[in-house]
Symmetry: C2
Subunit: 143 residues, 2 copies
Amino acid sequence: MAKPGKIPGSAEDVEAAYYEAIASNDVDALMALWADDDDIVCVHPGATRLIGHAAIRASWVEVFERGGVRLAPTLLHVNQNMMSAVHSVLEEVRTPGQEPQDLHIVATNVYLKTPVGWRIVMHHASVAPGQAPASAPSGTVLH
Amino acid sequence: MAKPGKIPGSAEDVEAAYYEAIASNDVDALMALWADDDDIVCVHPGATRLIGHAAIRASWVEVFERGGVRLAPTLLHVNQNMMSAVHSVLEEVRTPGQEPQDLHIVATNVYLKTPVGWRIVMHHASVAPGQAPASAPSGTVLH
């Protein structure tokens, strides 16, 4: 359930709280950041889509029960208007004590402005080869 | 470049035109559907993100030069407000004369309402195992 008093204001704030909730394996904090709407969608890397709170919550419980994930979000790219914010984030996957993995995660996080503030309506993550680029200017990926 | 006179009105119309442009290997028609904004983002399956018209156009030219792709979009799921539309689409990959592949593509297409109408600002596609589910109600994917 949403906790309006505890969630800060901007889409960036919600995103920071999102990665903090993942880092602390806190499914209640994580789910409070999603829109109170059964049309929300979550796509985990290599998986099909999940729709609605029950399915999305169950998937994160499963992730956290397996020990969670250590993600380092980086290189945020934003396309925003007054009522929506489309964030593209590159996530490095970190395992303490191990070398960085030769892959990174590309995540799309979409926020809509709801009556109780900015909330997540879509998280789509997929795996890409190689470490996250140090920067990703136009055209450099293909050439 | 955008061709305002040739692009129909709703986000659904733009999406239909998008898959039609892919089916006909028409990179000009495809790129006209994107917002005239260098913040647009495209993530192809298994790849990192591309930002801006030049990189995105080059990637589709490459796809079309390899013979293109035959996608059958299905099971659209929508989260929309007045200024943005977040579409989740399952795409079957079809190769004429061959059995359906045992995978499907999950695509997120985000449209924003721009001064010249609805335009794509984000396409994120990733591969999921198995054929596209016949339907995807809440909770059925995990259980």
